[in-house]
Symmetry: C2
Subunit: 445 residues, 2 copies
């Protein structure tokens, strides 16, 4: 950075190997700079398809790729499988447990975690969907609930086991609810002898008056209609007051008994942002300068879900992968120019501009909604667009062909191959505790 | 069965959904009999390829298939995801915890577990390879050891982390050692910056004077030579005296420091056989009648690894999947005839005859040994035969195309896609305890 002694190569440290962190590594070009990427997972995760792992449509390795293998051809990039524990921005150091990592430039790309609006105790009963472990835990819990229902229980118990509740009507909630409806109505229908999986209830709860508030009212209505057609009970204007072992308590007194509750109603920035000692918004996001650097720290940048950035209309840029990738490329350009011009460049740094390429959410087989500028699609055309965009995005993922094959096969046969339960049934508490520990020291985008 | 009241359909209970149990379900034909399959896993496992999951060549779902989906088109078959806890052969009942399952015919197909020759304390330090969890645990441990070595440790510590020891020179040990050599020398070679994975040591220990004692001496020597060429240190006539946290103590005083020890030196029958109250051999196998039924219990059969059966030369039939499948078909025919003819058939039951179709073990890319009758192959031809047989066997596995694709891709690029670490690093003790609990009450073949 500005005070770097010239005979030492500039050290760039990137925290998090999600879409933001990896895009930065791939687009940053400098003849001598050394990049170190720190992540506590060994894999990059294709998060847009995580719901497919939770609903047994894809297997975990199909949407994950070792970070080392993505970056193997960049000898200027080192990967550290470590958890971040703190920062010393004045000394320009990142703490990794007892170790310290010094930097000239720091890129924070730590992403977000599931947020429970001040009710962390709900996490145990209603897991979120942010990591492969989360997805596998949800899948295991639901498949085991159906196994227990088949095993001969009371009618009330059977109904409880065969009720799936998704809290939160954003894109993830809509995708999960649609996929669960297909799983129970189509895939599992002939697998059991004593229960009929088609009798399973899939309930989607949303506190707002409509689903998918990022989309137009027309598309929200279309999405709700497509979900109902699949068999999902869509309930809007419903506020959750409490979640327990096997039930949800709604505002107004209603209660839903369910052994399978999934929470997609909130995300907050990675809690590590609190250790930066800078101004955050209510969701824990870093309030960055227009160039994405931190106030008073031109050598530190925040990108992706972690950063609070406003677009041209004064709205926060959404926490989606295209936005993170655009920010990553912006910061790569800024640091390159810095290193080229030195200190005098600071005032001339360009502001980040978000280019909204559109949003889409899939609902089920051949059902989706998409909004691209003023264009709106739903049904088949939106689903085809969704498929195309996601397969194109999977470029670089060596499993793209396998994923396509799996989807094609599933599409025509409705037999899902990823329906394998692994892991200890009774270790869910352990992994849950572990997830929480990770949330407070993690480095995943 | 003999005393079945005729207006009630005969109840056949099958314990274990491995090759034996499933083959029985698929080949048993009777107009009214109801079959119940009990397994504590929801999936059938293609065990011959389990070593590929441990060495990050395949992902778990590629070699596993939900039992329900294999049997979905047989309405006379029910699947119970339960663990067996005991038997009452006199009452013709199987205990599943507090529940009881009554049968007219019982087929024991519970398979085997890793055996430590009276040293159960070694299991924690040197896991075996019998389940998906085992395979994922081995993979996780080895990939994390390399990550730690990259993270900057003392030279002695680095050597310890980069030493892999496989105990046992049978087919599984040979396959694992070969695959680990390829993983370190070819796949990981460009992934790290501070360590050179090609420097990793892969050591294969065998107590006998030669590897693969099932094969001819000539093929054993070929296998050892092929392994050496891949970089494996093959040591025969070596007896392990003790295994600890990070080391092996050999007879004679030598000691090997290693963070990655895998045990393939012994199997014993599922410990549930001890609860039958019948005669067992030293490996816990049931001494069955020539028709595979239990002495004094013509309505109970043992098949697969669980049964001690002698072939025409008086040798025990090996614990491999073709033998289990042949026994399953034999028992299906016996029970069908019984149900048709009633009690008078008992004396006329045919004896089981094992047909040895040959044995093969793969060593690495285009290296293998195969023995079919008096024919012996090694190198390329044996490898091609191995590939063909295993792909044919995977018929019915919906992932066969995906597995073939993955192998072809890996073959040409040496990039393995399954190199994903999931699960809590620090939960290995928990899963280890869980594995042990399962071993004592499990029902997996």
């Amino acid at each position: 950075m500005m005070n770097t002694i010239n005979h030492q190569p500039p050290r760039v440290v990137v925290l998090g190997a999600g879409f933001g962190g990896l895009t930065f590594c791939q687009s940053f070009a400098h003849p001598t700079a050394q990049i170190t990427v720190v992540d506590r997972q060994n894999h990059h995760l294709f998060q847009p398809l995580l719901y497919q792992v939770a609903t047994a449509g894809l297997s975990a390795p199909e949407i994950a790729q070792p970070i080392r293998s993505i970056l193997r051809n960049q000898p200027n990039v080192s990967v550290l499988l470590r958890g971040v524990t703190g920062f010393d921005l004045a000394q320009r150091e990142v703490r990794l447990g007892d170790d310290v990592l010094a930097y000239d430039y720091l890129v924070l790309a730590l992403g977000s975690v599931t947020g429970y609006f001040g009710h962390p105790e709900w996490e145990k009963f209603a897991p979120g969907l942010k990591s492969l472990e989360d997805a596998l835990r949800i899948r295991r819990r639901i498949l085991l609930a159906f196994e227990r229902a088949e095993n001969g229980v009371t009618p009330a118990e059977r109904e409880r086991l065969m009720t799936i509740v998704v809290v939160g009507g954003g894109p993830t909630g809509v995708e999960l609810a649609g996929a669960f409806a297909e799983l129970t109505r189509r895939v599992l229908k002939r697998d059991f002898r004593k229960i009929d999986p088609r009798q399973a209830r899939v309930i989607l709860l949303e506190a707002d008056p409509r689903l998918l508030r990022q989309f137009s009212g027309r598309l929200s209505a279309k999405a709700a209609a497509q979900l109902s057609r699949l068999g999902v009970e869509v309930r809007t204007n419903v506020r959750v007051e409490n979640i327990g072992g096997d039930f949800l308590q709604l505002a107004g007194g209603a209660r839903i008994e369910s052994a399978n509750i999934i929470w997609t109603a909130g995300v907050t920035a990675n809690p590590l942002t609190r250790k930066l000692g800078v101004a955050l918004d209510r969701a824990g996001r870093v309030r960055v300068n227009p160039d994405l650097s931190l106030p008073d720290h031109p050598e530190v940048f925040a990108i992706g879900d972690l950063a609070l950035v406003l677009d041209e209309r004064g709205q926060p840029v959404p926490g989606i992968s295209p936005a993170a990738m655009q920010m990553a490329r912006h910061v790569a350009r800024v640091i390159e120019t810095d290193l080229h011009h030195g200190r005098e460049n600071l005032r001339a740094r360009p502001a980040f501009k978000y280019w909204n390429k559109g949003t889409m959410a899939t609902i089920g087989r051949s059902a989706a909604v998409a909004q691209i500028g003023r264009l709106e699609f739903s049904g088949w055309p939106a689903w085809a667009a969704w498929l195309l965009v996601h397969l194109v995005f999977l470029i670089g993922f060596r499993n793209r062909a396998a994923v396509l094959l799996q989807w094609t096969y599933s599409y025509f046969t409705y037999k899902l191959g990823a329906r394998i339960i692994t892991g200890a049934e009774d270790s869910s508490e352990v992994s849950s505790a572990h997830t929480r520990a990770q949330d407070s020291c993690g480095t995943r985008k």
